[in-house]
Symmetry: C2
Subunit: 439 residues, 2 copies
């Protein structure tokens, strides 16, 4: 952890020149005034053009670097400590588990060290989000601590097993917090591993960290907690902002959701289907055509948590070389999901390589990089040739969902034929009926 | 070409049993009636549940296979011939070139052989689309005949060279017809190879073939032809349906367009920017913020048509193995475009492999699989590590545009440093200004 955590570029430069570190008391001089206070850390999301000072009255002020004429380090002052008010849940509320995997939601900043760390006790969580204590008895725990781009099928296994245990312990619902990068893949993976889950599991994250005024963390968390108690359905869902306002959430089916923006709060979208529902403080609304499964008996649930990472997602691009695909197939792969063009095509010169992969026991599946719409490999020669080579068409399954499913299917079948059959069976809403398809 | 072109499944079965071929005169018996006429070929798009018969009055009727009790082959009859009315362009109209590359637009069915073949003379084209003769003097020619999934950088070179020649010959504008699968990649590739093009080039295709009542072929073609004459701007654009109606087209910048549906007529969307404009029979409307370059002098234009196919597009997925990436890099690749997660990430365990690839002279670039929004590799550790490994961040460039650009940049630079510089320079609107970004 740097002494200037979160600062970079121009803001880091001016602070370094002043010999300032997080927690120091500074005087920041601008054209007309000088501002005194304690230097607080910034989030990695933040821009590099502001210095943020905590004033004596507790407010933070951001000062644009270009307006700063001088920074004077007054003292190695007593940095403000984060004091958690001792808040406990109202008695008799249903229990909800929050499983943390390393995202920035529900985290707190320690101003002394500048460290951002997740809340690990109910008390800390309630102190960050007091409203939660009126909703549920929350048990937060850290299951993993990993950036979402580093999540592996092995982590999905860990999460699935812990979910099973938590269900057996008795909860009204489960919240999984994670980074948003691979949230779509994880939601899909858990939809298969946790098929038959008797309670709802809501995956939430935040696109802006919880220390920022524009953070989406709180609404996502309070919405998920409320639904974990109140929803009359079960299954795996992603719950994130519905739009750029901070008052409405969308509930997405775990197998039909995709991150469609790098930074917007409403980055997640249901693909080819209406979302399962919406949530606001006024209540929850399940959409007309959505039919999420009802809550079930907790005693009979058993996860199928195993995954096999030897599957790849390969997006086709013009002139994709057979030698590249051959190299990939030669490296121990058991399955591949193609993101083909249009109705499900790759170039003809790769068909023989694919045929050989399938003949040797590999499982090759086809989705479309169009992302909306359905593959149809009967329309053109190339599609028919690929079908003949043994490629399994996956209807309108999302590519990201498909590779997670393939990793699961490879680990949960005894033969290649069984894997292929699993891939074509609609297990968790990953394929939509033609009649319900939107857009 | 099969004797039952376009028929498959149940319809092919019943016709085969009757010994029928395209062009034969049949009697098709259903419960209540019998229908006599000539068997006509079907398009590959069509369903497999209908037999289509051309009646003596010239109308085609489709008969559902499940209603057919019997098919009798009456005679190896004289199949109807396609007779082209001799239509010529009105005199004095500006010249527009149509370059065909193998899509289904502007094609005609020869009922005798069942072959679908593109119109190769002005007369044929005018006979298919008489309205065109009032708009421009059209010169159609077949530059390539290739499915769009089989298009290669070498084909982009062929097209670019031919465009240069056509410009030198003097045209008001150019229409390129192609299959829609890789239209986005091709539009991007040509945007770089044809930078400075003094006339507009409109890429059109059809999501439904021109023999079907629901075809989008005609409107796309007439709109492109009209704009090729009337538009006051130059450059490379995709022109396809704006919505599900058949009366409005969208003009997309060649570097910012993506096929976002497998089959819808309005599958193409401008990404992160407003479209350049819209066209309907009422006229053309250029959107407020669009500033397409004006037409230029034709004498000074020189294409840069070279491409190097040794570049790959790699979409990251959870647990992507370093050995897969290593195998890819070991197969002679000069450049790679990653489609990372979120702000531009791949898993940490691949960073060393990427670092080595770059150290050995490879060019590695980063885009986001979110498709909307902008990469920002300064926010998280993983991004910063990738930057340090030499990965070039590409702002909000589309992954498909980026790999086409990389193939072009590799062939048009003398050093790795020059390639990287080209990748980061905004040459053809492939990167948007932050202020204009939408969605």
């Amino acid at each position: 952890m740097s002494g200037l955590s979160g600062y970079r570029g121009p803001s880091a430069k001016i602070l370094t020149e002043a010999g300032a570190s997080i927690g120091d008391v500074l005087e920041v001089q601008t054209g007309g005034e000088s501002i005194r206070g304690t230097l607080v850390p910034r989030y990695e999301h933040d821009d590099d053009g502001h210095i943020v000072i905590k004033l004596k009255n507790g407010y933070n002020v951001g000062i644009a670097v270009e307006k700063v004429s001088k920074v004077v380090r007054l003292e190695k002052g007593e940095a403000p400590k984060f004091v958690a008010p001792q808040k406990v849940a109202s008695k008799g509320l249903p229990r909800v588990a929050i499983l943390g995997t390393g995202g920035t939601i529900a985290s707190r900043v320690d101003y002394r060290t500048g460290a951002v760390r997740p809340a690990t006790t109910s008390e800390e969580l309630y102190s960050l989000f007091p409203e939660l204590s009126d909703v549920a008895t929350i048990t937060p725990e850290i299951v993993l601590s990993v950036y979402s781009e580093n999540l592996e099928p092995g982590h999905w296994e860990t999460i699935s097993k812990r979910v099973s245990e938590v269900v057996a312990e008795g909860v009204s619902g489960i919240i999984l917090t994670m980074g948003t990068d691979t949230m779509g893949y994880t939601a899909a993976a858990l939809s298969f591993a946790l098929k038959g889950l008797p309670v709802p599991l809501f995956i939430v994250g935040s696109q802006r960290s919880s220390d920022r005024p524009s953070s989406d963390a709180f609404l996502n968390l309070i919405g998920a907690a409320t639904m974990a108690v109140e929803a009359d359905f079960s299954g795996v869902y992603v719950v994130m902002h519905a739009d750029s306002s901070d008052d409405r959430l969308t509930v997405h089916a775990g197998t039909r959701v995709r991150k469609n923006h790098t930074s917007a709060r409403d980055a997640f979208e249901s693909m080819g289907v209406e979302p399962v529902g919406y949530w606001s403080r006024e209540g929850m609304q399940v959409t007309a055509r959505a039919a999420p499964p009802p809550r079930g008996k907790t005693g009979s649930f058993a996860a199928k948590p195993k995954f096999d990472a030897r599957a790849a997602l390969v997006k086709f691009y013009p002139s994709m070389a057979a030698q590249y695909l051959g190299a990939l197939f030669g490296s121990g792969l058991r399955g591949v999901v193609f993101e083909g063009t249009g109705l499900g095509h790759i170039n003809s010169k790769n068909i023989e390589v694919v045929r050989k992969f399938v003949a040797d026991g590999g499982v090759a599946c086809m989705t479309s990089q169009c992302l909306w719409g359905r593959v149809d490999m009967n329309v053109y020669d190339t599609g028919r040739d690929l079908l003949q080579a043994g490629v399994v068409p996956l209807e309108d399954m999302l590519p990201e969902t498909a590779v997670a499913k393939l990793m699961w299917a490879l680990a949960n079948s005894k033969s290649t034929e069984e894997t292929k059959a699993l891939m074509q069976e609609n297990l968790a809403g990953e394929v939509t009926a033609r009649t319900t398809q939107r857009r």
